[in-house]
Amino acid sequence: MAINLKVNGTVHSVTVEPDTPLLYVLRNDLALNGAKFGCGLEQCGACTVLLDGVPTRSCVYEIQDVAEQEVTTIEGLGSVDKPHPLQTAFMGEQAAQCGYCINGMIMTAKSLLDRMPHPTEADVRATLAPNLCRCGTHSRIVRAVLRAANGG
């Protein structure tokens, strides 16, 4: 079934089963690498994208439920040449080891900064608590979000 989908400002038409999780459409049809498969269970946050600005676990969110909502992925924030302030801050703090969780950290932080431009460290930690990091990069991730909030 053909489904229209607005991702990072562009409308795409994809032909997939309506119950297909958004993650596989983003990765395999639209060749967007940012969102990652981590658990398929809404437990880790590696697959986080924004739907109309709301952090959403794309590993279980079905394509048929996206409807008119705008999908934003980490590719929609910026690029290596033109990074978003959050991406700049993550590079500045070297806030990654393996980096597999970082997509989810940045997308969740984006939604936080959109509604709360100057969060406290406790706000950042509470917002990112559902996103798991295994390498132990937690402190740098928090510092990067605060750095972005403070204008880099």
Binding site: N33, K36, F37, Q87, N103, A126, G136
Partner: protein
Amino acid sequence: MNIQNLSRRGFTAALGGIVLSFSLVPRLALGQQANLPGSLNNNRMLDAWLRIGPDGSATVFTGKVELGQGIVTALAQIAAEELDLPLTRIKMISGDTGQTPNEGQTAGSQSIEASGTALRMAAAEVRAMLIDLAARRFGVAADTLQVGDGVFTAADGRRVTYGELAGETDLHREATAKIAPKPPAEHKIVGQPIPRRDIPAKVTGGAAYVQDLRLPGMLHGRVVRPPRYGAKLESFDEAAVKALPGVVAVVRDGSFLGVIAAREEQAIKARDALKRSARWSGGEELPDPAKIHEHLLTLSMEDKVISDKQAPLPDGATRVEATYHRPYTAHASIGPSCSVAQAENGKITVWTHTQGVFPLRATMAKALDMQPSAIRCIHVEGSGCYGHNAADDVALDAALLARAAAGKPVRVQLMRDDEFMWEPFGPAMVMRAGAALKNGRIVDWTYDVWSNTHNMRPGAPDGVNLLAAWHLEKPKQPAPPRAAPQPAGAGDRNAIPLYDLPRQRITSHLIVEMPLRVSALRTLGAYANVFAIESFMDELAAAAGADPVEFRLAHLKDPRAKAVIEAVAKAADWKGGQGTGTSGRGIAFAKYKTLATYVAVIVDLELDRASGKIKVPRAYAAADAGLIINPDGLTNQIEGGIVQSTSWTLHEEVRFDRKGILSQSWDSYPILTMQEAPKTSTVLINRPDEHSLGSGEASQGPTVAAIANAFTAATSRRIRELPLHPERVKAALA
């Protein structure tokens, strides 16, 4: 970051031009090759490591691979430094059986020492050859040439680039290792916090992982693992699964079962259908988890005394004894393991996030009954592995499926439960320590550690350590478990304390039977042994009525060990354990593997006595890794290790019952969250005149013991069994 520079010598000779020195390595008997430093010894040709292109750039080949630890950036720094090239002109190629040296596994915090040393020596030699060529071209003395940015300039202004000289020299020659690398005082790139090469793609959605590989015509595969160890596949509904949308092939070989589909979600649905219809028989019963440590001690074992130091035992000494336990723990990578394989014309190419492309290739060849030369393993980064997770297993899965895909590449990613239930765990262990004290000093020390092997990786000479190989119709057998020699050791890693003790007897017991699948998890046995030894040191300090810092310093001779303890005590403003009933501080120390980085850690602990929940809000570390290559990378490793160890220590144990593994998701294997992660600060002690030491696993041991010691400081109770989860804490307080 706080870096102290401590130079062993007060000066470093400033030398211009090339420095020739004579190798101190003695020639062995006639006909034998001289030992070369680091991985040069097994990969002796210069062009195995370095090639200079006509454009003046250098391509560097390393057998070590990026695991998120920043090694590729650090190795690029070393090569750029010795070649006098900017980092932008260093191209790195790592972990490819078709291109790079064989450096075994990227493991054990050895990459800087093995690959870094080889590259430093090879690059210094190549640079010297280029200088020599330039000097001859200009007819001038080598030491009159200026070099910078890949260009030699003569005193009269004539210039020649590395690229122009590259065609005049043949690097396909054996390294001599006789050219001294730059003295550290001249370093401009080594020692700098150079940003990692891999991070920009990782924060912008670039192609950074094997999971992101997207080859033309690529299909998607999934596997169906047995429900428990040893179960046999009896039947499944093949016709129904083949009829599902997108299914290309169902592959069964004995009890190995997998499916290939056009789309990823189709492969997942087909896997679910296969799983529902599959009938399995038999399987192994697991031990009672409540008595796992007692059970392990009943199994067959090989005992070895690894240290035996004799001295008269004085009369009237006070004896102290304690036994400690660690549980099985999981690597629990955030991204389930993934591989892409393509089988064409009797050859297989595998893109893999293995830690060792050559050992994997050798073992895959046995599993697939192929020649190693018909298999090419190419490393592409994956989610962090922290040791031997399922990365190697999924490479064989992908190859088995690719053989049924008519030449098309097949991408296989494990599902979350596959990764948890079938990964090789870090072994459960028992540590028993005993000591005698007199006049506040340890006069006798005994220590026993019981553990399974920590190395069931691919690459063993006799056996096939890959999961699917054991499930085939004609199954392959795993290699027998082996003890690893000291000083690095395995289960007994860090079992010999660095303390200077007059009398000690340390025994390593290798438990041969493995009721749960086990292999290498970051630090191997060091996490458990440092937990036991450093907990016990605090118990002894308490028995001696001494401050834990003073007690440790009194038993140490190594000045570098003392220096990290003193540095962390100063950074944390140590004034003892400062227990209040709900808060306290603890310290611990280790030199990783007794031959790598020195780390001392102090943690602040907070306790909610009602819930039994422990929090570690703050951790301080001091580390001495010899000559620092990249201080920011080193700090990231030390601090990451502290946080990961805090997670292991407070939360982690693999849950199982008699029927199988129960830890199958993050619900049943919780890890530390963002709100629980300690804030960390690290003092780095740089020693430019000392060899660089491995640091990737150095802080985990000190962290666990510092937490256990802080708990005791807070509560006057001692917990000797990990993890320190709320039920155990409440039991200790009762």
